[in-house]
């Protein structure tokens, strides 16, 4: 049997999606809210069908449940899937971050045990890095894992965890050697989110919704196979994971359903009889231009990756550009909506205002704009690093987060 060509694969994906995938998210879908788990069963069912049809884990090796195909097939599928709203939100984190990290750094046993059910949506994953005292400076994290025989005892608090309320497993960073400088004493573990001592609490944000969680670990036992990669080498794996996160976030902008996108705001300008205003016209044209450039840059990165040139730190350019586009769109929406921004009378206007309120979060999540600029300056342009007074000091002698000075 000869191998399917990329175009044949694309045609098969197009046909399957047309038959099986919804064009838009169902109205009233509240699976974004951390309190809600109602959509999860339906998402699992869809993911299983998507997997069985051969469209999940496209580039992952076949021995771990993947399709063993190339970036070309992945890009073809993503391009076809863009016209649909696939109910697979619960799996984006696992397949985008912990999954690739286990593939790259995990043991053979871990890959065989965890990757196939992750792909088929039978087990959902979350990622546990940020802490109240460790955001931009994630490496100053204080959650600890202390050895007990060939197991570990995990204690501490994580924050900004998407999907923790319905996750089965998490990839967690914890400090395993506080006597080493901060980057050197961190390890990455697999934690069973159903284990005793794990508490998940929804985290309400500025929009009033709770799309994230706080997670508390109180003497949670991690078994001997929980360590991803080597002990005290967790930071290397974390860097791999954060890089994947930035590319994922940077390419999420510009969707047709985005309430702050050109299409939606143009329609609103017409409805509100403001499209003829010369200032509004210019603002909308500029929004179109910026939105298209961000989308084109994401496409350029994909095409370069396909041609064998991985994006590396330029994923940070995509992330920063996406966040800045959001901030600009808020100003355009102000001109389009006028005083409706102050008080909304329809659901459509309310959706725009909620997005306007949500935008500042995009400039923080996945690494703040300022951190992205550091990465671009240092890793793309080769500028000198910050002096980093904390790089060589043992962690237990550092002041971190909002701790008072040590005596």
């Amino acid at each position: 049997m000869s191998r399917e060509t990329v175009e044949e694969f694309r045609a098969r994906a197009r046909a399957w999606l047309a038959e099986n995938a919804p064009r838009r998210a169902a109205d009233g879908d509240d699976s974004e809210d951390a309190g809600a788990t109602s959509g999860i069963a339906a998402q699992r069912a869809f993911q299983a069908r998507l997997y069985d049809a051969g469209f999940v884990g496209i580039t992952w090796p076949a021995e771990y449940g993947g399709q063993g195909l190339t970036n070309a097939e992945q890009i073809a599928f993503s391009e076809e899937a863009r016209h649909f709203s696939l109910p697979v939100g619960a799996f984006i984190i696992g397949l985008g971050m912990p999954g690739p990290t286990i593939l790259e750094c995990g043991s053979e046993e871990q890959k065989k045990r965890y990757l196939p059910p992750m792909l088929r949506g039978e087990e959902i994953w979350c990622q546990l890095f940020s802490e109240p005292g460790a955001g931009s400076d994630v490496a100053s994290l204080q959650a600890s894992a202390v050895r007990d025989g060939d197991t570990w005892i995990l204690n501490g608090q994580k924050v900004w965890t998407s999907g923790a309320q319905y996750s089965d497993f998490g990839a967690v960073l914890a400090r395993t050697d506080p006597a080493q400088p901060k980057h050197g004493g961190i390890s990455m573990f697999i934690v069973d989110m159903h284990a005793p001592g794990v508490t998940v609490r929804p985290l309400r944000v500025a929009t009033g919704h709770a799309p994230f969680n706080e997670v508390f670990f109180d003497n949670v036992r991690l078994d001997s196979g929980a360590l991803i990669g080597a002990e005290n080498k967790g930071w290397d794996a974390a860097v791999v994971m954060l890089r994947n996160e930035r590319i994922a976030i940077g390419s999420m902008t510009g969707s047709r359903n985005n309430p702050l996108g050109f299409e939606v705001l143009r329609e609103l300008a017409v409805k509100l009889d403001r499209a003829g205003d010369p200032v509004v016209r210019r603002r909308l044209a500029e929004l179109y231009a910026r939105e298209r450039a961000v989308a084109l840059f994401a496409r350029l990165l994909r095409e370069e990756a396909m041609a064998g040139q991985p994006p590396g730190a330029r994923g940070s350019v995509a992330k920063l550009a996406g966040a800045e586009l959001g901030a600009f769109a808020v100003r355009v929406a102000m001109d389009v909506l006028g005083d409706a921004v102050a008080a909304t009378s329809t659901d459509e206007l309310a959706a725009v205002v909620v997005s306007m309120v949500a935008v500042p979060g995009g400039a923080i999540a996945g690494g703040t704009n300022e951190i992205q600029r550091n990465i671009i300056g240092e890793r793309v342009l080769g500028l000198a690093k910050d002096p980093g007074v904390d790089r060589s000091t043992p962690f237990n002698q550092l002041r971190v987060g909002t701790q008072k000075k040590k005596q």
Partner: protein, 360 residues
């Protein structure tokens, strides 16, 4: 078509880059500026003859290579990076593009082979936002033009001027025509020659074809070509300024370690990446997706012109005092960016035009 350059385009980029470094480095351009010449004739001959840059948009039947817009933007990017003065934009892009769109067979046969070889320099009097202040008169057999257009790219040097008049028709006026006055202007950008064209009952030949559509197409080509030059120039500013931030030490460390410097450079890098992606998309739609071209060319110009001006201003600022001296190249880029923002349509004109294209 791909946004990534193919092997042929990469090789064209490399040859133009080498040519600019060898034959038209900035010290040579400074001498040229001091001499008062619009461009170096020998450099132009080689750009057109040896590298074939004036022939890229022109089909083989008219003596061109028909390589296309993508190749042209690759070449212009490198010329823009080096601020190389040449009539390529006026002649090989705008005049060639206008003639091809008009489709006046006789005029194409008369002019395009010369434009392709570089032996003939033509220009287009586009004038500000597409409101030419030139009126056609005379008789059907002896048409005459009267009026004024300014600023016109290479208007004082061109052998042939293509002029849009009230009502949208396009006329050809020869450089030695009676009643034609060409006054070189004091150009803010030392590397771009501009002139005022005054026509006083000047003999002209009307060109067949859809004038308004062809003039609009020339305006789109102007956006594409200026965006290409500006992307190249932005890359030059970025390279120059990041190198300086790596080398220059203050307060005991390279200045690039300070976030006030680092973050501005990161913004410059981000702006350049976006402009470059938009440019590549516009170049590929010019060749393969004509319905998208006008909007894509506007997007490319908007993403290049304004951000390039910011990059050029930041280049001076991040260099500090040395960047404000005459000897430093930063002011050449700053002036090029300043004039490039408003040439053939201000940013406001561009936004209005894009809004119209998008149906807003």
């Amino acid at each position: 078509m791909s946004l990534v350059l193919n092997a042929e385009e990469e090789s064209l980029r490399d040859s133009v880059r080498r040519f600019v470094a060898d034959r038209s480095p900035i010290p040579a351009i400074r001498k040229l500026i001091d001499s008062g010449q619009a461009y170096d004739g020998a450099v132009w001959q080689q750009l057109a003859g040896q590298l074939g840059l004036a022939s890229l948009l022109i089909p083989e039947e008219y003596g061109g290579s028909g390589a296309g817009h993508s190749a042209m933007t690759v070449a212009l990017t490198e010329l823009g990076a080096g601020l190389v003065p040449s009539p390529l934009l006026a002649s090989g892009v705008l005049a060639a593009g206008l003639l091809l769109r008009l489709g006046d067979e006789q005029a194409s046969q008369d002019l395009l082979p010369g434009i392709a070889s570089g032996e003939l320099v033509a220009t287009v009097a586009l004038g500000g936002a597409g409101h030419p202040a030139v009126a056609a008169g005379g008789t059907a057999t002896e048409p005459r033009l009267t009026g004024e257009v300014s600023p016109v790219l290479n208007g004082a040097e061109a052998d042939v001027l293509l002029i849009g008049v009230h009502g949208g028709a396009v006329y050809r006026v020869d450089g030695d025509a009676a009643g034609l006055t060409r006054e070189p202007l004091t150009s803010t950008d030392h590397t771009r020659a501009l002139a005022r064209i005054v026509l006083d009952d000047t003999p002209a030949r009307p060109l067949a074809g859809d004038g308004p559509a062809a003039l609009a197409a020339a305006a789109d080509l102007a956006n594409l070509a200026l965006a290409a030059e500006q992307c190249g120039a932005m890359a030059a500013c970025l390279a120059m300024t990041s190198e300086y931030a790596r080398l220059r030490v203050a307060f005991g460390q390279p200045i690039g370690a300070f976030q006030a410097v680092k973050h501005r450079l990161a913004d410059m890098e981000t702006a350049w990446e976006l402009a470059r992606a938009a440019l590549r998309a516009a170049a590929t739609s010019a060749d393969a997706d004509p319905d998208r071209f006008s909007a894509d060319a506007s997007v490319a110009r908007l993403l290049a012109s304004g951000p390039y001006f910011t990059a050029a201003a930041d280049t001076i600022q991040l260099h500090g005092g040395i960047g404000f001296t005459w000897e430093h190249d930063a002011h050449l880029y700053y002036k090029n960016a300043l004039a490039g923002q408003v040439l053939l349509g201000t940013p406001g004109d561009q936004l209005d035009r894009l809004a119209t294209t998008l149906g807003v």
